[in-house]
Amino acid sequence: MIKVKINGQEQSWDGDPDLPLLWFLRDEAGLTGTKYGCGQALCGACTVIVDKQAVRACITSVNDVAGREITTIEGLHPNGDHPVQKAWRQVNVPQCGFCQAGQIMQAAALLMDNPKPSHDQIREAMAGNICRCGCYQRIENAVHLASTGV
C-alpha cells in the first residue's frame, strides 16, 4: 500500500507501484485537471508540483512519490486565485486550454524558485511545456505579470 498526499488529502494505492502518477491522478483519483500529452516528459502537459518542484507526472511512478506532497492544478489555490492563475486570466492566455494546467503549474514552480524571472529565464524555464495553439507570447506576459503583482 502506497500512501501519497494530494492537494492536502491522503490517498492510497495498492495496485501496480510503477503506475505513472499521471494515470493514478486522472483515472484512479479522478483529478483530471492534469493532462496527458506525450507520456515521455516531452511536452509538460502533466506537470504537477511535488514538494515545491515541478515534476512530469507521466514519467513519475506512484512509488516515486510515496509519502510526498503533491499539488495539482485543482489544489494550487482554493478559489483558483493563485497569482499565476489570475495573471493568466488577465492576459487571456489560453486558446484550446489543454496544456494550460501544465503551463500554470510550471510557472507557479518557477516563481517559487525565482520570484522575479527575466525574459530569458521565463523562456528557458517554460521551454519544456509545449503549446500547439501557440500561446507563448501571452504565457510569457502572464508569468511576467504574476511576478510583478496582479
Binding site: 507520456g39 489560453p94 486550454g97 519544456g128 509545449i130 500561446c135
Partner: protein, 770 residues
Amino acid sequence: MNFIDNPRKLRGFEKNIKVEKVSRRSILKGLGVTGGFVLAAPVMTRQALAYETGAGKMPHGVVVDPRVFVSVAPDGIVTIVGHRSEMGTGVRTSLPLIVAEEMEADWSRVKVQQAHGDEVKFGNQDTDGSRSTRHYLIPMRQIGASARTMLEQAAAKRWGVPATEVKAVNHEVVHSTSGRKLGFGELATDAAKESVPAIEGLKLKDPKDFRYLGKGQVSIVDLHDITTGKAHYGADVRLPGMKYAVIARPPVTGGKLVSFDPDAALKVPGVEKVMKVQGWPWPSKFQPLGGVAVIARNTGAAIKGRDALKLTWDDGANGKYDSVAYRKELEEASRKPGLVVRKEGDADTALKGADKVIVGEYYIPHLAHVSMEPPVAVADVKGDKAEIWAPVQSPGGTREDVAKTLGIPEGNVTVNVTLLGGGFGRKSKCDFALEAALLSKELGAPVKVQWTREDDIRNGFLHTVSAERIEAGLDKSGKVIAWRHRSVAPSIASTFAAGTVHQAPFEIGMGLADMPFEIANISCENPEAAAHTRIGWFRSVSNIPRAFAVQSMVGEIAQATGRDQKDMLLELIGSPRIVKPNVKDLWNYGEPQDSYPIDTARLRKVVELVAEKGEWGRQVPKGHGLGIAVHRSFVSYIATIIEVAVDDKGKLTVPRVDTAIDCGTYVNPERIASQIEGAAIMGLSLAKYGEISFKDGKVQQKNFDDFQVVRMDDSPVVTNVYIVPPGPDTPPSGVGEPGVPPFAPALINAIFAATGKRIRSLPIGKQLEA
C-alpha cells in the same frame, strides 16, 4: 417557463420550425456520402442583406430559430446554445455573444450550453474550413433579434401598448413613454408563447449600438475553468464502470492483423481483457484501422499491456512507401506536363520566348496535427442505443458515422461534444469515436479509447506531401509575362476513393488555380500522385505548400531582378481588380464569388498595411533579414513580415513578426489576434521542424522528440497583429486557418535577406548550419 428548458428533451421540436425554403444538400459531408434533401431556413433574403454566404449549401444548412438556440429562465439567466465545437478559436464564446448582442442580453447573465450533435435541429455543425463566423454572423444576429422581438412583444401585451413603444435594453424591456421596465426573466413565460417573427421583417441593431461585437472586451467563457483545471475535454470524461482502452493499430496504412499473442499483456496488473478491433479496408474514409485493444482499469495499465502484446501484421500494398523515393517521383512528375486546371494565354510559348526564366522547385513533407489532446473518445453502447462523449469537430458527422458503423438509427445516437484540446482538422475525422463505439458494444460497458502521442503521429490523417514547381518568364524589362505552376500531391480525396491521383477541386482552389497575380500567360497544372497513407485536412490545407511556393517565387524574382520584395509583390498583384481565373467552377471555399471575390485591392491593402506598421525596409542588425509574403485563403487576406536572425552557426531565431489581416466584419478582435499569434507558432513549427517521413510503409517519427514543434525558447519574441477595419457591408471571412500559409514563405524570404541562402525544401532543419 423557458423558450426551451432543455433542448435535449425536445427532440422532434424541429418539426415545428417554420421552413422558409428547401435547401439542397449540395456539398456532401466529407466526400463519400450521398445526401438526401434536408430542410433548412435560408440565411436571409437578398434584399435584406448585403451578402450571401455558402452556409445554406452546407449539409443541413442553417437553422434560424430562437427556440432552438435561446432560453430565458424566470431568474433572468439567458442560456444560449453554442452549436460549433470549441478547439481554441473562441467560437463557443463568439457565436453566443452575437446572439446576446442582438437580443440585448447582458453577457454577465448569459450561460452557454454546448449543443450535442444534431444537424437537423441546429444546422450544420462542421467546425472546420474557418467557416463559423462567416456562416453564422447573420443567422446568430437574426436569432438574437427574433428573441428580442418576442420579449418586446410580450412586454407590449403585458402593458397593453403598441410594440413600437417598447425596446429591449440591457436585459430588460423598457416602455419609452412611461419608463416602465420588465426584466427578461419576468417576461420569459409570456415571450415563449409569442410566435417567432419572420426573418424578413426582423430589425437588426445598428452596428453603432453594438456593445460587444467588434470590441474584444469579452474573455472566453471557459477561461476560469481552464485556469483551474475544471475545463472538460474529451479525455476528462469519466463514467461509472468505465473501462480504459488503448489500441495497437496496423503500422502501415491498409495493413492487417495476422496474429496476436495476448498472454504477456494479460499478466500486466490492471489489464482485464485483450480483444480484436474491427478494421476497414483502405481507403476507408473515417472508419477505424482495426487492430488489437487492451482493456484495463486505467490508461497506464492499458498502455503497459499494449507494450507487452506480440503482434504480427500483413503490411499490404503500402508496405514499400518510402519518403525519399516518393519525393523523387513527385519531383519528376512536376517536371512534366500535367492536368491543366487553369489556362490563360499561352504560357508554353511565352516561357520559350522569355528573356529570362526563373525556376523554383519546392518541397513540403507530410505533417502531423499533434493537437495537445491526442484523439480520445468515450462510448456507452447499450442495445440499439449509443451515447458518445468526444472532442469532435464534426458532431453531426460523428452521429451519422456511429449510427452507420453500429447499424442503428441515427436518432438513437447521442454525441456529446466536449471541449477539444486542439483540433487543426484532425478531429474532423471521428475514427476514434467509432473505435470507442465498437469496443463498448462488444464489452457491454462504457469505454474510453485513448490514443497515445505515438498513435497520433503514426496512425493519423496526415497533411499531404507536395512538390511544387514554378517557372516564371520575364521580358527584357523584368516584367513577369509567363507563369507555370505545377503542383503534385496526393489528395485528401484518396482517403475516400481508391485510385485517386488528382487533387480535388477544393484543393486546386487553395492557392493554385486562384493565384491572383496579373500575368498575361498562366498555366496551372496538376500532375498525378497516388497516396500511400491517409491524407486529411490540416489547418489551412493545400494553402501551405502553395503559398510557400508562390510567395517564395516572388522573393526569387525580386532577388533575380534586384527589386525590393514588397515592390515586386505589389507589381505582381497588379492593379486593384476582381480576379476571375479562367477555371470552370473555381472552388471559392464554398462561398459565392459575388460576396467573396478575389479582390486585389484588399490583397494590396494588407501588404501596404503590414509594410507600414511592420516598418518594412527598416535597418536591421547584421545577420538579420526581413521577409514578406501575402496570401488569400478562406476568403481572408493576410500579409506577414518576419524578421529573422541567423548566427554564425546557422541558429535561426525570430525577433519579430508583423501580420495584417483583412477578415471582413469581425466579432472578437482579441481572439483574432490570438489566432494569428498561434498561426505564427504553427507556421514556424512546420517551417523549422515539420516532417513526417515513411520507410517501409511506416512513419519514422513517434513523439515530440523527433516530431518537434516550436517551444517558448525559440518562439518569435514579438508578434504584432493588425486588423483591417471592415467596410459597412464587408462579409466576415475566415480567421482560424489563414494565418498559417504566409508564414513559411515570409520566413524563407527573410532568411535569404539575412544570409543569401534560398531554402526551397522544408523543413529548414540543418540547412542553415555551415
